[in-house]
Amino acid sequence: MTYGLPLEWIVAVRFLYEGRLQTLFIVVGISIGVAVIVFMSAMLAGLENNILKRVLTTQAQIQVIAPDQVARALRGKGEDMEDATVQRPSQRVALIDQWQSLVRSLRAEPGITFVSPTTTGSALAVRGEASRSITLIGVEPETYFHIVKIPDYVVAGDARLTSESILVGVELAKDLGVRVGDKINVTAASGDQRVLTMTGLLDFGNKGANQRSTYVALRTAQSVMGMIGGVTSLDINLYDIYAAEVMAQSIMASHRVVAESWIKTNAQFFSAIQAQKATNTLIRLFVGLSVAFGIAAVLVVSVIQRSKEIGILRAMGTTRGQIIRLFLLQGGLLGFAGSMVGAALGAGGLFYWHSVARQSDGSELFPLMLELQLFVYTAILATLTGLLAAMAPALRAAKLDPVVAIRG
């Protein structure tokens, strides 16, 4: 016996050691449960992260635009309507009113990390005989590049934006036959022309984007499209991506603008993530329950097997409280040991699956995300489950009448 170690610890560990086959089986059972939870949680977190990354690295979490123009029915004298049908007006490119003060006010909001003004419009890129319609996106690199990481998509040249430069997608560059350093003639719908130098080649991994998206400095876009000083949208990123919809609603409530969150514009994808999270929670719950019942079953059997020994301990002066703690400890120790082995198994399984599960292009199916937090939470949860599961057997043991227990 180790000097100074409390009686309950000594007896709990010895009981578990003596019934080692039983202990081994239940620890293996708990480990499998914990491994499933660790594996599932880490893999789903990785998948979710991966998908989110794909969605949110090419778009802002919230986009603020000017409200649509609305035609109102013309009213005659009194409340009579002159026209029964109202046709929706065609929407010209709308600029955001007083955008500078709106940007200042949004930047002061807690929860918002970046606000970037953008001017977007259609234009024609012409070079020699070739001409292609493009989306000209004018941005402030110092803020916009924090929202959409354009430099990450640069495959040639760099992402530096001067008033004369333009960044072009690989498909468009191929169609126009341009390379970094070449000139491109950009013509706006109004007929205004500007010759820009291609300084960077971008590959978004998406053919549509590579064909149409071009990036220029904000002032360049404003001048080409005749929107001097105006912006068509404000791109916003947040600390908590899942707070986007609430924040968008709050922006709309306090300003005369339309704010669209990524949650709304990707509703299907968002509900898929939510469904995946709910499934994961259910799996955790049921695995947790089966682990709890497993521990409880083993300890109930142990109480029955050891009733004489419990009776002797009680006859020697062990209190009911000590007997309760003795069994709670066994439950807690089983849960803890199972969580340690299970976490290792889960992590091992995840490494293996990560190495064999590949996408069709050979890239990883999900990023390997093993956070210490997950292991700590799982260990705490499994230990608590063990303690709770041991409650009923512990109370049963404490209620044993020593006389009846000893007599058997």
């Binding site: 016996m1 170690l5 009686l7 010895r14 020994e309 002066g317 000893i406």
Partner: protein, 228 residues
């Protein structure tokens, strides 16, 4: 008048009181025992010997009557105080030794001290080792309880019962499960402790020869005491 070590006044025990299966096991038992006594309790099966022993050992409470240990009325103590008094004053030896199989002989002997202190220390081990030597089992001190013969286990059980230096030692058929030689050894050991430490021994037995070697024989018949 000095207090007696143990005093039973009109002790009765009724099981399932108020139900059709009501059974009165002990009927108004009066008994006085003092330090250093070596008493045998005899009687046929079902006569109430074990119930009497459980009540004296504070493992069970009487339905009526008073039990005084060292002048202290145990009926006035709550469960926790009773458990403490049991741990301090009373040692038990059972027919089937009931050693805890997960522990070695030495650790089993240490156990009552560990229970009292809450944790083991050097003193517990020294005292237990001394008692294991005293019962002649120093060689098997570190063997698991399950790896010893019946006689050895019963001697270890006796050492365990003595480790807290109890004033009363209750033995329920301590040699009932042993061969003659082992039974003699255990009995001799109890006698030696009784003489040297003045511990009061109360031994329940069916063995007439053994009972006759005790100082006093109390017979329990149908829940009543007869002293020859």
């Amino acid at each position: 008048m000095a207090d007696h070590l143990l005093r039973l006044e009109q002790i009765s025990k009724v099981y399932n009181a108020g139900e059709p299966s009501q059974t009165e096991v002990l009927h108004g038992i009066d008994l006085v025992l003092d330090e250093g006594e070596f008493v045998a309790i005899m009687g046929p099966s079902g006569s109430g010997k074990s119930t009497l022993l459980n009540i004296i050992g504070l493992l069970d409470r009487p339905t009526s009557g008073r039990l005084l240990i060292g002048g202290k009325d145990t009926g006035l103590l709550d469960d926790a105080a009773l458990t403490r008094l049991r741990g301090e004053s009373i040692g038990f030896v059972f027919q089937y030794h009931h050693l805890i199989s997960a522990f070695t002989a030495l650790e089993n002997v240490m156990m009552p001290m560990v229970v009292e202190r809450g944790f083991p220390d050097r003193q517990c081990e020294a005292r237990a080792r001394h008692l294991v030597e005293r019962v002649g089992l120093a060689k098997v001190a570190d063997h698991l309880a399950t790896n010893m013969s019946g006689g050895q286990q019963q001697r270890i059980a006796l050492a365990r019962a003595l480790v807290m230096t109890p004033r009363i030692l209750l033995a329920d058929e301590p040699t009932g499960n042993l061969d003659t030689q082992s039974a003699d050894d255990v009995f001799a050991l109890m006698r030696e402790v009784n003489t040297k430490s003045r511990t009061c021994f109360i031994i329940v037995t069916h063995n007439k020869t053994m009972a006759e070697r005790c100082d006093r024989i109390i017979e329990v018949v149908d829940g009543r005491i007869h002293e020859p």
